[in-house]
Amino acid sequence: MPESQKSKGLSRRDFLKTSAVASASVAVAALGAPALINSQTLQDPVIYGFIGAGRQGNFHLKKLSVNRMGRCAVICDIYPPNLEQGVKTIGSNPDKELQDYRRVLDRKDIEAVFIVTPYHLHVPMVLDALSAGKHVFVEKVMMKEEDQIPKVFEAAQAHPNQVLQVGLQRRYSAIYNVATQMVHNGALGKVQFIRAQWHRNGSWKNPIKDQAFDRILNWRLYREYSGGLMAELGSHQVDVADWAYQSEPISVMGVGGLDYWKDDRDIYDNVSVIFEYPEGRKFVFTSICNNASLDFSETIMGDEGTLEITLGLNTAKATFYPEQKAPDAPTNVVKTANVQEQNWWAGATMKNRGRKIGVPILPNTPRKNPSFIEKEIMYAKKWLTEMGVLEVEKDRDAIAVEEEHFFHCIREGKKPIANVDIGAADSRSVIYANRAMDMKQKVFWPGKAEIPASSSEPKKV
């Protein structure tokens, strides 16, 4: 096909290659969304307590209010308006606990707890909940201090029959599963670089009703309780990088500053961090608070294609941009010389490469080996979606899925997808990135610091 035609769109074969890779996504089947919907009719709902009914807490409670796999017995929050709002959101008239979360843990009828509290409270509450015999769902980021990591591992090992799940909801999105499978199966070629940004334009501050609760309601702005932008936003995206690279980073360096919102906060509002993974792969994360034009997304870049993914309020979206190889890209194939030499043109030309037409990645990937007709239908649907005739099929809300999955694991005795290993790896990235910014130094993962080899002279040919 002539180069000019190729650049206008994907060839059908390219398309099938992409979609076949996408359909190889076994992980989506492992999530078992349809099976989970069936088990919504569970006769034996999980009785749970809910600790922390702030903004994120109410987001969870809203989804939980239509989830019949669990039943909320008590909501706990020390701030009365939040507690009232939480009770209203869940709608099932649970008990209220205003004093101490340990009273929730003391209750014998409660099997599981959701911990959706400020960051600094996660580990103490997780440890208490595990030793009280409860299954635990804890919001990300799991650990705030490095020395908490072994403690949580110990507790998890001491209570092997209790589910410990961390709220990294991208792991439960069908589209993110398809996207990472595409990376692992080489649909993007060799991936050396991932970029993610979480850009906002706003103070990140909540108005306050009661001065006594100022710091608590705006806990995200103070280091005493918060890990700042890296923890609250970046943790989701560094987890995607870990997932795509199938590895933890080996080092991180970064620059952070409090440059725009100069109020009484002490976290950074301007963060740029570079993570290094094995084999020279990099992940760059930026987060700012005074421009929202780029919003938030993760962009995975390989030498054969780019994948841009984002998780919106309710649904995920992924777009694949095939890379156009430069005509002068290095090739190892030496062609036979029996072709007639073509006519050459003189005069400089500019050619746009890459990022031509995006192909939406669809969440429904029915079978590992789709039949001819299925492939044709998939191709037709993608083509119509690309033309704007058909609406992009949507992923199910990842927060609702992670909650279902939590209940599912409890009842079926399964291990969660976002488990303590994933939660700890994510926490380490956050802790080390913040350390790198604070100390203005490169931070290595334990045992990964290498003394650079002595600079050897380039070999002469």
Binding site: P81, T89, G91, P207
Partner: protein, 374 residues
């Protein structure tokens, strides 16, 4: 290759030209932004707030009072929120929280957004029962209460009817008789099956649809007002596209928020109005045939349907009602619009605390106003 260098005079001319261009662009920008900032904040669809209200006034004897206003588009209309308060740092944060609340309600109740819980009901409730989150369920129950009390004059199931009259796609058409007959089978609040114990909803007829568009704005206004009160705001104003406005307290040195009602025959003419009302802890809600309509052979068909006949209501230009809440206002203005003046009298007797203004056609070019108070 190097470009041939310009002669000094040519270069000077070029620089001068560029500078003129830059300066004129800058002046243009300044003029443009000045024209924006000097614009009176006008609510788009229903009323216009007198410019006096929008000036900042402070009472010298007391703690300094600040004023903040902002507008944002949500639910397909422009919301404006004005607040007065003594904490200048908190005011923008509070207004921002108000807009977040409006967006949240849009997420919950929009039937344009395929991900909203309302769209989920519309998609699935004819196949099986759908578990609905408490807030939306309670709200649907409240809507049904208005339907029962008005004997179906207000109905959230008119969606299919609106569709067949072409109002969703913005191209009006008169449906065929049998088409209408078929559509009417899918309309009627009695056809909804609600289970308040399990919080589920189901359609008894396939093809039904819920449309909260007529009343969700009022709910958003009420939510914002209660949010403002929670943050200690005593004086504020909320406008949902101008068709539902609420005045909380009264602006400094005023008796209330002065609102001019749009002339139903010349809604865009700032020189004419249908009367002025003062709002103090009251809501003004307007249903007008000028909001969405089409004309066939000189007859105007507006978007307000009579759920009993399946036809747009005729012989009414607009109805404005004063109520204590936005939801009440948005429901009652539709009810009265459909019922007409005579039947409305009986309705208002049963529902005290409501004042209504009916704008009726009086010949082609004029209107007459009927004011009903309980």
């Amino acid at each position: 290759m190097r470009l041939p260098s310009c002669l000094p005079i040519k270069r000077l001319l070029l620089l001068f030209f560029l500078r003129v261009l830059l300066i004129s662009a800058f002046i243009g920008g300044v003029l443009q932004s000045a024209s924006v900032s000097s614009k009176k904040p006008v609510s788009t669809a229903g009323q216009q707030v007198s410019s006096k209200d929008w000036k900042e006034r402070t009472d010298p004897g007391q703690k300094e009072l600040f004023r903040f206003d902002d507008s944002r588009v949500s639910m397909a209309c422009t919301y404006t929120v004005v607040v007065y308060g003594t904490d200048r740092i908190q005011l923008p944060l509070i207004v921002n929280t108000a807009f977040e609340e409006i967006d949240r309600i849009d997420q919950l109740m929009s039937n344009y957004n395929p991900d909203s819980p309302l769209s989920q009901i519309n998609r699935e409730a004819d196949k099986h029962t759908v578990v609905v989150e408490p807030e939306l369920f309670d709200f649907i129950q409240l809507c049904l209460k208005y339907s029962r009390e008005s004997d179906g004059a207000f109905d959230i199931t008119v969606g299919p009817l609106m569709k067949s009259w072409g109002f969703y796609r913005g191209e009006g058409r008169i449906p065929w008789f049998f088409e209408l007959w078929n559509v009417m089978r899918k309309v009627g609040y009695q056809r909804l099956i609600l289970d308040s114990h399990d919080r589920t909803i189901q359609f008894s007829v396939s093809g039904m649809e819920l449309d909260l568009g007529g009343i969700a704005k009022g709910y958003a206004v009420d939510r914002v007002i209660s949010l403002l009160k929670e943050y200690g705001i005593q004086t504020g104003f909320v406008s949902a596209g101008g068709s539902t406005v609420y005045g909380l307290g009264a602006p400094p040195n005023r008796d209330g928020w002065e609102i001019r009602i749009r002339d139903p025959l010349a809604p865009n003419d700032a020189g004419r109005n249908g009367g002025t009302v003062h709002l103090k802890n009251r809501c003004l809600s307007i249903a007008g045939n000028y909001e969405k309509f089409f004309k066939v052979r000189g007859i105007k068909y507006s978007h307000i349907m009579d759920p009993h006949t399946g036809y747009p209501v005729q012989d009414m230009l607009s109805v404005a009602v004063l109520t204590d809440s936005g939801v009440d206002g948005d429901a009652v203005d539709d009810v009265l619009y459909v019922l007409g003046v005579e039947k409305s009298k009986a309705y208002l007797e049963k529902h005290p605390g409501i004042e209504a203004f009916f704008y009726l056609p009086n010949g082609d070019k004029q209107w007459k106003m009927v004011n009903l108070k309980d």
